[in-house]
Symmetry: C2
DNA sequence: CATGAAACTGGCGTGAT
DNA sequence: ATCACGCCAGTTTCATG
């Protein structure tokens, strides 16, 4: 620690905000298209390409940019049915459920949440009846509540406070 | 009707699956790192760079690849608190809720689901008490049930059947 | 700023229909 | 003969020191 007692929450050196207006514009542009070249980004924010590269690298190292992801349409790869499944673990079964979720390829995400149910999973299957086998696995360790996804009015996007 | 009656469901020419082994490998590689260059992809699948560019373009146009997304850490941009909110609309309020979700910047995704609750939203706020204002908006049109995200044992990934 | 690599384009060969 | 696909070689653009 240099001069101040506590490092800034995001790990940036003192006095330099990770989210000055330029970086905000960079994140906004990259949210719309993560594959924009540094040269193109540079044009939009009015800076040189190396400068932009440097900023993006810092955003990556600081963890502001956690990564880049490929968005595949599950229906196009034979998984047209999606469901959200809440799981309430039996006594002592909590870690097993997280482990099972990790090993189950049909599970695309799993969140530990507060409330009566401890886990919220997103599951993708080829047809409705294929959900049974997945649920059976989780039912070994607790109770499940399932809801099929009928549509997605707001597809995943980056939040803005 | 031997071969040329109806175009294949995905819009690909007859007899050629959009998911032949090569395309599967491309999707797998791009899932791990969507920013791989066409040249690098070409090395991995043993083809030329223009050929893989062509295949990726087709996967994009066919909608198999829906897009590319930037993964930003919400905590790093001042939104460390995430919650899943289920919303049960009052009579006739269903479309208003989808509209409100779309307009609300704190909402990063919204799914229409089966079951007692009609919508499942993911909400990001700077602090727990900031959830109140968001919920108040939705409570104009229905009832809400909220669960805070405590951890994410399986971060979003691409499912594999 | 210079160099090496990678992205786009058009043209040609091949195999299947 | 047609069409879809992949390779090759041209130029332009971009990334890295």
């Amino acid at each position: 620690m240099t001069s101040s007692s506590v490092p800034s929450r995001s790990g940036f050196p003192d006095g330099r905000s990770p989210l000055d207006p330029v970086n905000r514009r960079l994140l906004e542009a990259l949210s719309a298209d993560p594959r924009l070249s540094a040269a193109e980004l540079a044009r939009r924010v009015g800076m040189s390409a190396p400068a932009v590269r440097e900023r993006v690298s810092r955003l990556e190292e600081a963890g502001v940019i956690r990564g880049y992801r490929l968005d595949i349409d599950p229906a196009a790869i034979g998984l047209p049915v999606a469901a959200w499944v809440r799981v309430r673990p039996g006594p002592g079964q909590l870690p097993r459920i997280a482990e099972l979720a990790r090993r189950t390829p049909e599970v695309s995400e799993c969140h530990r949440i507060s409330g009566d149910d401890c886990f919220l999973l997103k599951v993708h299957v080829p047809a409705i009846d294929a959900l049974e086998a997945v649920l059976d696995q989780f039912l070994l360790y607790g109770q499940t509540t399932s809801s099929f996804v009928v549509s997605t009015p707001v597809p995943p996007r980056n939040p803005a406070g």
